[in-house]
Symmetry: C2
Subunit: 366 residues, 2 copies
Amino acid sequence: MQIVGNKARGVELIEDLVGKNPLFVFTISSTKVAEVPGITVAGADPGLVKYTPAADAELVQYGKCRSIAGVPATPDGKPTPALITTTALRLAGIPHLIVDAGAEVKPQTPYIVVGAEGPSENIALKDAATQSTVERIFENAVSLGENLAKASDYLILGESIPGGTTTALAVLCGLGIDARGKVSSSMPVNPHNVKSSVVNEAMKRLNLKIGDLANDPLRAVASLGDLMMIAVAGMSLGARRLAPVLLAGGTQMAAVLALIGKLGGKLTEGIAICTTRYVVEDTSADLKWLVSKIADVPIIATDPGLAHSVKSGLRAYAEGFVKEGVGAGGCVLGAMLQSRFTLTQSHILREIEKNYENLIEKKLQV
Amino acid sequence: MQIVGNKARGVELIEDLVGKNPLFVFTISSTKVAEVPGITVAGADPGLVKYTPAADAELVQYGKCRSIAGVPATPDGKPTPALITTTALRLAGIPHLIVDAGAEVKPQTPYIVVGAEGPSENIALKDAATQSTVERIFENAVSLGENLAKASDYLILGESIPGGTTTALAVLCGLGIDARGKVSSSMPVNPHNVKSSVVNEAMKRLNLKIGDLANDPLRAVASLGDLMMIAVAGMSLGARRLAPVLLAGGTQMAAVLALIGKLGGKLTEGIAICTTRYVVEDTSADLKWLVSKIADVPIIATDPGLAHSVKSGLRAYAEGFVKEGVGAGGCVLGAMLQSRFTLTQSHILREIEKNYENLIEKKLQV
């Protein structure tokens, strides 16, 4: 584990959470930005991308997918990070809930409705959603977050929204942080040009310059963002008074963090971004820089040890593929903390490999 | 508080739960049985009955309704039991989640989808739902219950489904307990004839005698019941291995208890029916007899003290109106237990009256 940014506050938070009982809240969503060619590989076949959030939710809930055969993975066997998440949650007995913030395909699981209907629009062409949709989701999410915080010692908030780093980039730009060239990708060659061009088109469509929406975070989401962000930001705000919050994800959670701050949330103690080392060490992005522009909030990066895996599909995470998602880094941390570190990296890795064999390799052999 | 049935086990359970942190899970649903004239007054105006579950959910979530003006109440001011529930939850800081098991009107709140779509059909005319719908909800609810039990010390499971005592009666009959004349009503003159005639028609339609579905609980729900029952039974089964469960309601929860037993749930320790004294003292029904036919499970009856209220609309509860619903009795118990009895009957009653003034009387004056 490494702490980037405010190390003192990161250590304090971790010490505070040892042995505590978290709740993992997994928000799924879709944006039509994912349909822009070359922008994402979350889901190998472009036609399957829309199933990825639902399939991830099913894997977390039931240990297997229902909306698709097998598990989201590239043809050569690089699996969805939901495999890491579900392994960590099961090992530690950590409960979860799934929130639908506009997934195109709804999961065949229990899930919480917060007022989102369909996916967010492609921001290059039109607003992501109406302002009233964003406000409704925000209000529901705040109230939900308050209740979930009462039911747990702290919240781990993860997401699955293919194409979401592009909307994160756009919202960061709208709020005044020029994040072009800084957001992560699920591919080793980060398609910064494609992302920036979507964002530039969106800003041009709205006649906006960087920072023009710094004082209107809800409008930034409605015009440039996606519904995952406002759901997670709302839950965080509702929970913050009552329990610590781990924003479990990569550069998308930087956009959520910025929104929380703009929406009046305190960004001092009790909040951190938690991700995998593959994100903080990603030389094609800069999470540390992004967070430093927002607030003095620590980034906690866990290491699931995939670099040493016997499975090439898992080693790929350390080679620039996938890297993070579905709150994987945060759930690994939660499992280690809840178990008071009796669940070690090698223990978790062994179990991830076992699940990989059962869920991916057996299917590839068929 | 009084304990009916297995007193020793009731006392043991209560002692076990003092100071613990419950989660209230509120399941809303609709059955077209509610449209049978004279069967329910859950919602004063027949045209408003379909809004009652959603309005109850909104009152619990936000302290005010959104789908209707004001609060569900009869024209002379007898309020929905959601008023008691929300008061108890807020006083004690108990978290809640709302589950939609086929409410006709969806609430303007966060709520959990478990695979139900519309309301259950009128069982006199056709099956309540398809077998596959019932199986899907059951499986989702079991998995949900497991997760919710991990996130709390115990679950309080309440419901709102106008017309639900009639489907409870039908399912009890299908499972082998002739409950005719024994189920409660929200009215002082219990329309047993209307209920029994719906059930007799349903049994005749299916060519069933009492007890014919004793070995097929899922079919009993699909043909004679409603989707609330299977959602609550499923959550109970999922939770049971991990945490105690309070079935918070009147005679409808007897049907749920019978289903839990038939579906393989242990009905020994860690489970109770929890309701108000107005239900256990209801001379037009017999909850004690019903439960005794199912299992040796205690009934814990709380007294919110409404008999002594200065408000006639609240005193009506002690005069045979409304009596229970929305897990009111269970939430009062949960509040007292969580506060280690520092929240007393008079404290809770005072707060209920204050909320009654703000939500009902002010509206009646307009």
